[in-house]
Symmetry: C2
Subunit: 647 residues, 2 copies
């Protein structure tokens, strides 16, 4: 049966082809030391020839992008486009025939002479726009069938179609740029880590021991009955063991796996830049990473400045209502509790009468002009359903009139104080909420982002797409209350995170108050990395695992033993490569920076993986399928069919 | 139950510690542009200080390797050893106490002043042997428990113990060197491919569609009932699709998976340098790879010369009886059929009377002196059991007497001709076999290697361990007879390999005779790489899959469609990284160049993976374990135990 829920949305491309042309030029300029023609049957790429090459005999290989009236062919490769002039004289009729009869996207090799174009026929938007090639020889290397879509960046196609014919989609300049930029960024990272700072690239296993209860780990059956490997979510244990092993500085561009089940828009496999070093503190790792980002940053994206600003988790929560603030715009959460100490507004008074009750607000510039009643309803719903927080809007109309359910209860003093503290002006909107600090901030943090989306959809330029705001978030709590059992604690990040030295004594008295040496790296409101200084004392690690987290020590006995065996102080970080690259290139999904991504529900639409495997083939692994009632026949019948596309 | 068959053998290290010292020095010299101390709480590594640093205040971090009579501590890190002088004056009693009471392998940080050693106390075998550090401050960062073995390269330990405590084993200079050299070689390869030749590093998925009948592919259950991903043996399909997608030049340091079941000494996951490029021919790939190896080759291993020599598969078989000849020594297989045209020796005459019958020989220098009767029995057994070939020895005793079952049947003419053609002298041994060309050559090829092992065990320096003989083997057959059904053909390598252009017409008439554009790269008798020019014509690919290999086209429909969609001519290669590095460092097993290898039978002895997973945890994947009869209780009881070591 066709599965509608796996439908992938239409996705417009962000870049206009003109902007791309300039970016492409800068990008390839930065690769000018590379020889793209070595060992190949061409002399130049299709993006390379210019007025300096006039008179040269050249050989080009590429795809026929376009053919015009038997006069010109535009040849394309990864590097660009070159205009090929079809000879018109009788003696070259066979060449003309070959060039004119080959369908678009056929692969050809042409030899010929570079000439200057007729005056007035130059194309300044084309890197090779001053020249053309007069053909002397043509080889049609492969002809192309009728394709399901044209290879032109401006042609819109559904993402499902792009995924099914990924090998065609990859021919677009945008995908070529995304993958090449990714390769380039990673290469620069390696130079920085390996060559400049003496890090060792170590490969760690991906067939590893299952974490008990590790619900997000794929299992891999072995040939021992009942025994399974699992695909790890990160090389965390291995990188710490490498430090115990004296490797000193480790990094890996590591493939990681996470089975998020039905969660949409997650890739079951993803890549992280995994780093660990010994004899380092938090500031050391932060400076290392700032240097790394600076070193690998693409020239065409403008300069970035280091060190990156830093906020504590508490500040991020108070100001932005979230642990990964997008600092490209203000609209900060403001504590207005003080204004309402003696308010007549009932629900605010009630909130303040509870211990820890607070009142928070955000100001949306021009919100009174731009937010519609329908928007306000949506915002209220979001706050109520996701945070159980009531939100009350105040519209400061341009005519000076306040429109709000609160209006008649607010004193003039409260109003003017509110305007002053919120820096609110006529035309703005305020959103007010009351309750516990964390919940109230979180709700407004969410509404802040929702409002930003709404304002941008109405044409306000709020977040500069060319701006890159990096931010460290530090001083996270070491533990959180367990969601399903608030009497117990769980690790905020993972159980190997070290407490801040000045809080370590609190472990034994008030563990809830302990702050950790964890740090997150945030870019434009997205978490792109996280790491920590690790525990290197076995007794501290043992205490946390056993007494605070109530874990079975047996499972981590090898790690505890390792900590007793001369473990150096160490710490590290992991950067999410897919997310980082997608932010750099401005892609709307990480699928656009992955060569062969999976669909929403983890399917490969090209080959139709995952697929049925016969009981016979499962035998060596001592497993059998538990078919849900009534599903077996259905499944078996579909195995006879061809590739089934979700559409 | 303890499993004896997974025992790992004792493995002596090849390098003496002295040779290592020199190698280490050269290796770190080649990294002189790296800053190993950035961002860390030390000023120098333990391998860095010399007479140029005298008078400097330094901070060192490391492990206590050795402590002598309260006078000195030897501090170790990845880079080397430094002598720390323990202060003896009363005022520094606390420092002395800290340094003397910390157990060996404890981690400390010392600050102090670099001084020259007393004349006569210099240690020329230690990189830092001219200096020592006068301690001013000591921090004991972590104390070490009693370890299961000492961290000294010359201390022999079982490999099982090394695997269980891999984090300790990694502290040996040899393992540090192996992993660091591996990192360095890969980094240089990347520079060559990415920076110099414009290759793009593209990551391909490891959760892919199962190849029907792909018995060596691990399966990964998905949350869709009955549907599985598989872990691919190589990114073959993806790299070809990338070429169709116009990526032009792809490489990846790719993790690959192969479930070899009970086959010993294979790693279930391994790494290959995976390369593919468009618009290239066989010679182009060969030159690319020669340049690659030359570029990444470690200085301390001496120069290598390119281009590498090349032999055809037919020549390799005829001369060395194998498709991966070790050309570091001669002892070639020689066809001596001509000598015995009219022989009186019955079994030779019989062999020649069969169509295609041949007689082959190898000459083992000094074999008559060094081979014992017991050796000859073993050699005959090997030939008989593995190749069904009888082998007859002739010992040319130093006193001129020939000792052989054939002796009395050989004419003087045959004897002298044999000596001449084999270049055999008194003291040598000849091994003679008769039969079909391929089988006879293969048997002698195997005996050639066996004899080399025997001679070396008797002290003959046959294969120089410092020599690196690279060799291309080309012109393989495209198809082989199926082992279990000799009426049918199967691909010699894989079905995407292109035929040699001059043989392409034979596809339709005599496919058995078609030679392929496949090439293997061999180093010292080990296959370290293989690749081919691929088929880019969909009709040729279709014909081979359907008419010759009798495959179901449906399964590869996406690849066939891709070939019809403007596929450029392309080819590539994959190099086995683990094997290559193990040959470079002279390791006896690839396990010595992998940070966390699996044991013979695919177990991780440190964490005890694979491990039992509860039925409950398997539920989301719709699978259950099929327990072999009577095994369930056993397995369940063992799950309660701690880590069970195979010993």
């Amino acid at each position: 049966p066709v599965c509608w829920s796996d439908q992938i949305c239409l996705m417009p491309r962000r870049h206009s082809s003109l902007a791309w042309g300039a970016e492409q030029k800068l990008f390839f300029q930065s690769l000018s030391f590379s020889d793209f023609n070595s060992f190949a049957s061409r002399t130049h790429t299709c993006g390379e020839l210019g007025s300096g090459d006039i008179g040269q005999e050249v050989a080009l290989c590429g795809w026929i992008q376009y053919q015009r009236q038997g006069l010109f062919v535009i040849l394309r490769d990864f590097h660009g486009l070159t205009q090929i002039v079809i000879p018109q004289d009788e003696s070259a009729a066979h060449l003309k025939k070959a060039l004119c009869s080959a369908p678009l996207e056929s692969v050809i090799r042409v030899t010929g002479t570079v000439t200057t174009r007729f005056p007035g026929q130059e194309n300044p938007e084309m890197a090779t726009g001053e020249v053309e090639v007069q053909v002397k020889g043509v080889e049609v290397l492969n002809t192309c069938r009728m394709l399901p879509f044209e290879i032109k960046d401006f042609v819109k196609k559904s993402e499902a179609l792009r995924m099914q014919y990924r090998y065609l989609d990859l021919r677009s300049f945008q995908m070529q740029y995304n993958l090449r930029l990714r390769s380039q960024v990673v290469m620069k990272m390696r130079e920085y880590l390996c060559n400049i700072h003496g890090f060792v690239d170590v490969e760690t296993p991906t067939l590893f021991k299952r974490t008990p209860g590790g619900a997000k780990e794929f299992v891999v059956p072995s040939r021992e009955p009942g025994k399974f490997y699992s695909l790890p979510q990160s090389p965390q244990q291995f990188k710490q063991l490498l430090m115990v092993g004296g490797l000193d500085r480790y990094f890996q561009v590591a493939r990681c796996y996470r089975d998020e089940g039905s969660k949409p828009d997650r890739q079951p496999e993803f890549t992280q830049i995994d780093i660990e070093m010994s004899f380092v503190d938090q500031a050391g790792i932060q400076r290392l990473i700032e240097g790394l980002i600076e070193y690998c940053w693409p020239e065409e994206k403008g300069a970035i400045t280091t060190p990156f600003p830093s906020v504590t988790y508490a500040e991020a929560l108070a100001d932005y209502g979230v642990d990964k603030p997008d600092t490209r715009f203000a609209m900060k959460v403001v504590d207005v509790t003080g204004i309402f100490r003696n308010t007549a507004v009932g629900f605010l008074r009630d909130a303040l009468s509870n211990p820890g009750g607070t009142i928070k607000a955000i100001c949306i510039p021009d919100g009174a002009k731009l937010l519609k009643n329908k928007d306000l309803e949506v915002l209220k719903d979001v706050s109520k359903s996701q945070f159980d927080q009531e939100v009350t809007p105040i519209m400061l109309r341009s005519d000076g009139i306040w429109k709000s359910p609160l209006n008649k209860f607010l004193s003039e003093g409260e109003k003017s104080e509110l305007c002053e503290i919120m820096d609110a002006h006529a035309g703005d909107a305020l959103l007010i909420t009351a309750g516990q600090h964390e919940k109230a901030c979180s709700a407004l943090g969410k509404l802040r982002l929702e409002c930003a989306n709404i304002l941008e959809s109405r044409g306000v330029a709020l977040r500069d797409p060319a701006a890159f705001h990096f931010l460290w978030v530090i001083d996270f709590p070491l533990f959180l209350l367990k969601e399903d059992d608030p009497g117990e604690l769980e690790s905020a990040h993972h159980p190997f995170t070290a407490p801040k030295p000045e809080d370590a004594a609190l472990l034994y008295t008030e563990p809830k108050k302990v702050r950790s040496q964890h740090y997150d790296l945030v870019l434009n409101g997205n978490e792109i990395g996280g790491g920590s200084i690790r525990i290197h004392s076995s007794s501290q690690q043992r205490y946390i695992l056993k007494e605070i987290l109530k874990e079975d020590l047996e499972i981590l006995s090898h790690l505890l033993e390792a900590l007793e065996s001369g473990a150096p102080p160490h710490g590290g970080i992991a950067l999410g490569l897919d997310r980082l690259i997608s932010l750099i290139v401005g892609a709307s999904s990480i699928r656009d920076v992955i060569a062969f991504p999976k669909s929403y529900r983890g399917r490969d639409l090209m080959s139709d993986a995952p697929s049925l495997v016969s009981a016979e083939e499962l035998k060596p692994y001592h497993i059998q399928v538990s078919w849900p009632l009534g599903s077996e026949e259905e499944a078996e019948s579909s195995s006879n069919g061809a590739i089934q596309l979700e559409s």
